[in-house]
């Protein structure tokens, strides 16, 4: 929130007061971002989970290193008839009854194998790349779409607002999962064509597109609400008086004031997108096998939970850790940036 220099300095008005204000800022004032960062740093839990998320991302990025130098295999390589030495005994990677080995906690098959004899650890890391990539890109897509729609609707109001709001309301009438599933089933065979670009039904872009789309109403509505309030503020009026056009007002006056909202939403959106990806893949309407993702791995594992529970437990735990770290960190960021949060935490 802006301070009120005029009230504090009754003798000064106009540029003189601004100058004074600027100087005061320069000497010992802290901007909202600095204050937010300071509050965030005090929240040890949020920082710890933020670091955890970064570590998880780094681990998944290092997937090829692990595959090449530790596990000596690839995510799609089958080892159906291979054997491995365990405690001096030679064991089949996949037993004669079709049951794969569990975690060895050694380089090869660190977290066990799946029924095709594929290395779970390697697939987990490669799958994580897909899940995280889908989550981040889809969240980015949702954010960009929501900000554009919300800002345009809130700024121009009138029929444009009505059109955007109606569209969002209609999308909002569908449960997120159902909308995702409907799009997933519709696009699975034949894929999607946008202008000259054709995207195959098995491509990872399809789940990104679906997930990026279905969350738009949930972010665009609050953004629009904020823009409706912001557009009445003095600084917008000032910009307009200086001759700024609607585009400039929207993107250099209004959007920067949405930054903290956008940041918080973006973090929470990644978490939700990763969750939705897993649900869609579990149902067969998201990532298509043999592409690994945490959702497809759980899907493959659930059928064999009675004989090889590690197939379900391992990718699920990884998923929960990722989503949890994002949720806790996002919560911390919100508490740190939203001035109202301080009031709530004081009690």
């Amino acid at each position: 929130m802006a301070t009120e220099p005029l009230a504090e300095q009754p003798g000064l008005a106009g540029p003189a007061a601004w100058e004074l204000e600027a100087e005061r800022e320069h000497v010992h004032g802290l901007g909202p971002w600095r204050l937010g960062l300071r509050r965030l740093r005090r929240n040890k839990t949020a920082i710890a989970f933020g670091i955890l998320f970064v570590l998880l991302v780094l681990a998944c990025l290092a997937a090829p290193l692990w595959a090449k130098h530790v596990a000596h295999t690839t995510p799609d390589a089958n080892h159906l008839s291979d054997t491995i030495k365990l405690n001096g005994k030679t064991t089949n990677v996949v037993g004669l009854d079709g049951v794969p080995i569990g975690p060895t906690y050694k380089g090869k098959f660190f977290l066990g194998a799946d029924p095709n004899g594929r290395d779970i650890m390697v697939r987990l890391l490669y799958g994580g790349r897909n899940s995280l990539m889908i989550g981040v890109v889809a969240a980015l897509m949702t954010t960009v779409l929501s900000v554009v729609l919300g800002v345009v609707a809130g700024y121009f109001r009138g029929w444009l607002d009505l059109a955007v709001r109606s569209l969002l309301d209609i999308m909002w009438s569908f449960p997120v999962l159902i909308l995702g599933v409907a799009l997933g089933v519709a696009l699975a065979l034949g894929g999607l064509q946008i202008g000259p670009i054709t995207i195959g039904g098995d491509s990872l872009i399809i789940p990104i597109f679906i997930i990026g789309l279905v969350y738009v109403p949930y972010m665009a509505r609050p953004v629009r609400g904020q823009v409706l309030a912001l557009r009445e503020k003095e600084f917008v009026e000032a910009a307009r008086a200086q001759g700024a056009g609607p585009l400039r007002i929207m993107f250099s006056e209004v959007v920067p004031n949405l930054a903290s909202t956008i940041l918080v939403f973006f973090t929470l959106l990644i978490a939700n997108a990763v969750l939705l990806e897993s649900a869609l893949s579990f149902l067969g309407a998201g990532v298509r096998p043999p592409n690994p993702s945490w959702g497809t791995m759980i899907d493959e594992g659930v059928d064999r939970i009675a004989t090889a529970p590690h197939l379900t437990v391992v990718p699920g735990l990884m998923l929960v850790l990722t989503v949890l770290s994002l949720n806790v960190f996002g919560d911390g960021v919100r508490d740190a940036l939203d001035p109202r949060a301080k009031v709530r935490l004081e009690r």
Partner: protein, 315 residues
């Protein structure tokens, strides 16, 4: 009041129309392929495709196609492309199971969330509050099908405390019905407990500073009376709205994942199986009906609010 209801119902019909158009567009227009080919599925013959094209009128203009599709959906003429069973009948058959799951879970999550949220708010900032916040966040972060599968395996299959999936009809064996649904209810409720208890906590903390709460305290009411009659009641208003909507979302969405894991054979599992086979007609019908249901619930909630709070009628 009468005018408000009429206006709200008209609006509802309009939204339902828009929802049906959007569903139609998703399945018949957006994708980059012949809708007849997609509807026929992965393994099919040219003659099937021809037959589907004729039946659904895919050679006709879009408005005509829309009318044909809606006729099929509304009259129950829609058939699964794989089993050839009528979709409408299958949905109706599964409804009691899906409703059993959704209603029980909704009651459970509301009850637990009120306990957690209120306790969290009373102990705000203390250890108990932080602990419950972490628990809530963990609940929000777990995919329902994963925790459901683990519960079913460890508590149902391995320890044998609960039945290993399946459903028993209420009319035949109420206790068996309850017993079979405990795990599915819990799995489905976990997510919402996390969400609702946090919303309730912040609502309670906002309400606690209201003047009427101070008045109540000044009157000498006991802390318990203040919390339940003054604070909780007013903090519940936003939650009850959410509740109505989420109930609809569970019927149309969350049930798909939960029923599959616990083999409840309701509408959700029916949908999940159709999704697995890329069987378009059932998915189309379920998509449309679940959105209709949410629009309807929305209207009912609005009308109830207008009845309770006359100010809303004038907006």
């Amino acid at each position: 009041m009468g005018r408000f209801i009429v206006r709200r119902v008209l609006q509802m019909v309009l939204v339902m129309f828009a929802v049906s158009v959007l569903t139609f567009l998703i399945f018949n227009v957006i994708p980059n392929s012949d809708p007849a080919v997609r509807m026929a599925g992965r393994h099919t013959s040219e003659s099937t495709i021809q037959a589907i094209r004729k039946e659904w009128g895919f050679n006709e203009s879009l408005p005509k196609q829309y009318v044909t599709t809606m006729e099929k959906v509304v009259t129950g003429d829609l058939k699964s492309q794989f089993t050839q069973l009528p979709v409408g009948k299958e949905i109706v058959k599964g409804l009691p199971r899906t409703f059993s799951l959704a209603i029980g879970a909704a009651l459970l999550w509301m009850f637990v969330a009120i306990c957690f949220g209120l306790y969290s708010a009373v102990k705000a900032g203390k250890f108990a509050d932080r602990f419950l916040t972490i628990i809530a966040l963990i609940g929000i972060s777990m995919p329902v099908f994963w925790i459901g599968a683990l519960m079913n395996y460890y508590l149902g299959f391995k320890l044998g405390w609960f039945p290993n999936g399946g459903y028993v009809e209420f009319t035949k064996d109420p206790i068996g019905w309850f017993y079979h649904l405990i795990l599915p209810w819990t799995a489905l409720a976990i997510l919402f407990v996390g969400f609702y208890s946090r919303v309730l906590r912040s609502n309670v903390l906002d309400t606690i500073n209201e003047d009427y709460v101070r008045t109540a305290r000044a009157k000498g009411l006991s802390e318990r009376q203040i919390m339940v009659r003054h604070v909780l009641r007013n903090s519940m208003i936003p939650i009850v709205t959410l509740w109505g909507l989420d109930f609809g979302a569970v019927l149309g969405g969350g049930a798909i994942l939960t029923e599959t894991v616990f083999d409840l054979q309701g509408v959700g599992q029916y949908t999940a199986e159709a999704i697995g086979q890329l069987d378009v007609p059932p998915v189309l019908a379920v998509t449309m009906f679940s959105a209709f249901f949410i629009v309807l619930l929305n209207a009912v909630v609005d009308i109830m609010y207008a009845y309770l709070d006359p100010r809303i009628r004038l907006q």
